[in-house]
Symmetry: C2
Subunit: 353 residues, 2 copies
DNA sequence: CGTCATAGTTGAATGCTTTCAGACAAACGG
DNA sequence: CCGTTTGTCTGAAAGCATTCAACTATGACG
């Protein structure tokens, strides 16, 4: 920068003004500066700039795991908007690990990001942390799930309604013995989805055996393990609502391994409608939500905040859409599914209202 | 920091020394400083630190698109190693767009990252850019593909061998009319894969009709479009080598749409062995490579460089592994596949040697 | 007890940019 | 022709942590 000033015969201040349009500079000078910048291939140090301005052009993004196909979509949504507005993303994976999340959140702040978008892993930290960010003038938007008593901006989907619709569909095609395998219940999206599932059952006066609702991680192996567990209970459920598509994948795998057929013996419906849902065999029915939209919307709110929007916290809830594919079919007529075995274990507590 | 110094009754210099172990500090002072740090919840500004040290604890990572399932795996590999060594990732998507890549590369430098890991989108820029980074003392590692005349560190997989093995397998089960749909040929991995494909054919003295080798994007829609094109040629190929799994997905989709059967009418083999490969219908045969390994290895090299490894550039090449699943089967005996239609168009230039 | 080496501490400079207050010149009004 | 205003430009401070040279105890030794 000093070089530029020298070459253009102006002061540092002027160079800065040209670069930032922060003051009127006469055309000839302006041109000389710009030429020098060009000639030297100068790029301002974002570090120094950030230090001085108390704010960088970075947006922090904290997600559980890039490797889970749902999250990259969100990231992408954020990145697109961020990039086109001159912001860059600094990405952190928490692995749903409390401690890692805290570490990231603490360190990220010292980079003075302009904004922060979080898919929270823990139920409490963020509320405290976000307060610190806000005090430092950094807007925070929460996506996909919310920490306990979150009162800032957020973008989520209508999990409860989505799950309700999915379950209603299962009921409509004739299923009566339903099970659910859901993600960690400290996550609000898992809570809401299971609530939707329950409400649907209640709406037709059906009760579920508590053991037919299993909590696990939002991943394939979790779904697989719990599905094996559930499918060995007799009488076995004729349909399983999976908390997300990864779980659903595990469920389908388990069904196959146990020599059963999906949807013949057991119908499966997932949540997320990931790209591969229509490619699996059988193709997966799912509650569709757009990760990209989620991310883009969050970024939109953030950008607005960054440009001075001081309105009340926004808690946006995006719609979901039910996608029925091959993995859901009516139950077999006499739903023989293991009734024969309903002997010793008295599992027949599920009853029609 | 000034507060800390005040509270502990020492100078700024001492605080810094305690925090960085940059000089011996007597125990009582040291303790007082640490206590003050604790009490105030102080975290050093990474910005100021970076500015002073001419280096931040960030590692820049430039990839084509997080949304393509292969790349997150690489990212994850990098992140794991980076994080556990105290480095953070700053992630940029280029969308295979030359200009965007350049912009990212230029701006990223001004953050003074400690290292840079790139999956290049363009064939030339990086070589120039990397030189600038190196002059600034920043190590650069190239992953997955290389730009033209790259002479720095890199980690790739044995694309040529992988493609060769895959093609040999197709030949072995009896296919003679092979087609390939490959990614952009300015990318080295695409070049190498198609080279492997060709070498396999040559090795059994088979020649391919040039129109049976189609170039497109490494994505589903590309594979879909080109597959539709190829499958309408008569006689139609009995097997298609897809440049990656996304392309393969598009191919399978096209096969289905044209009322054909995979693997009955057309066998398909992909490259990457993405997670979903075993879940599609039919499950996808593929050349397996580990994105995670790729990323982790690159990060390893980078970390070594950052701690002073000045040895010759390393050009690591990881092995691939052939995974045969349902999508490959022997061709139908009389490979009737449209010979009937081999009329007007004289497409019958493929011949056995 | 003076001297000297050593270990421990400090103050100030430094990195790069932004920004604020002030300087300067030209233009304007009286 | 002088005082103001307006429009440009400059110089220096500030932001935060690191680091180097310099300084002060501390203790050893003669």
């Amino acid at each position: 920068m000093k070089q530029i000033a020298g070459m253009a015969g102006v002061s540092l201040g002027t160079v800065s003004h040209v670069l930032n349009d922060s003051a009127r500079v006469r055309e000839p000078l302006r041109r000389r500066v710009l030429e020098a910048v060009e000639a030297l291939g100068y790029q301002p140090s974002q570090l120094a700039r950030g230090l001085r301005r108390d704010k960088t052009n970075m947006i922090g993004m904290v997600i559980p795991d890039v490797t889970n196909p749902f999250f990259p979509a969100v990231v992408r949504g954020v990145e697109d908007l961020a990039f086109s507005n001159g912001y860059r993303l600094i990405l952190c994976n928490t692995d749903n690990d409390h401690a890692k999340e805290l570490a990231h959140l603490n360190e990220l702040r010292t980079y003075l990001p302009s904004g922060l978008i979080v898919i929270p892993s823990s139920f409490s930290d963020l509320t405290v942390q976000a307060e610190r960010y806000r005090r430092a003038g950094t807007a925070v938007v929460c996506v996909d799930r919310l920490p306990k008593s979150w009162n800032g901006d957020s973008v989520t989907v209508a999990n409860e309604e989505g799950a309700y619709a999915a379950t209603r569909h299962l009921l409509k095609v004739g299923h009566r013995r339903l099970a659910a395998i859901i993600g960690p219940l400290h996550l609000t999206n898992a809570q809401e989805r299971i609530a939707g599932f329950r409400r649907a059952l209640t709406s037709v006066k059906l009760r579920v055996d508590p053991e037919f609702i299993q909590e696990t991680n939002f991943d394939r192996s979790g779904g697989h393990a719990k599905a094996r567990l559930i499918l060995k209970m007799l009488p076995r459920p004729t349909a399983i609502f999976a908390g997300n598509d990864m779980i659903a994948l595990g469920v389908i795998q388990a069904i196959r391994e146990l020599g059963l057929n999906c949807p013949g013996d057991v119908s499966v419906i997932g949540f997320d409608d990931l790209d591969f849902a229509e490619l699996t065999s059988p193709s997966l029915s799912s509650v569709s939500q757009s990760g990209y939209q989620l991310g883009a919307t969050a970024a939109r709110i953030l950008l607005d905040r960054m440009t001075g929007d001081e309105s009340q916290p926004k808690q946006l809830v995006l719609e979901t859409q039910l996608k029925i594919r091959e993995s859901v079919a009516p139950p077999k007529n006499n739903s023989a599914s293991g009734i024969a075995g309903a002997d010793l274990r008295k599992r027949n507590r599920v009853r029609t209202g």
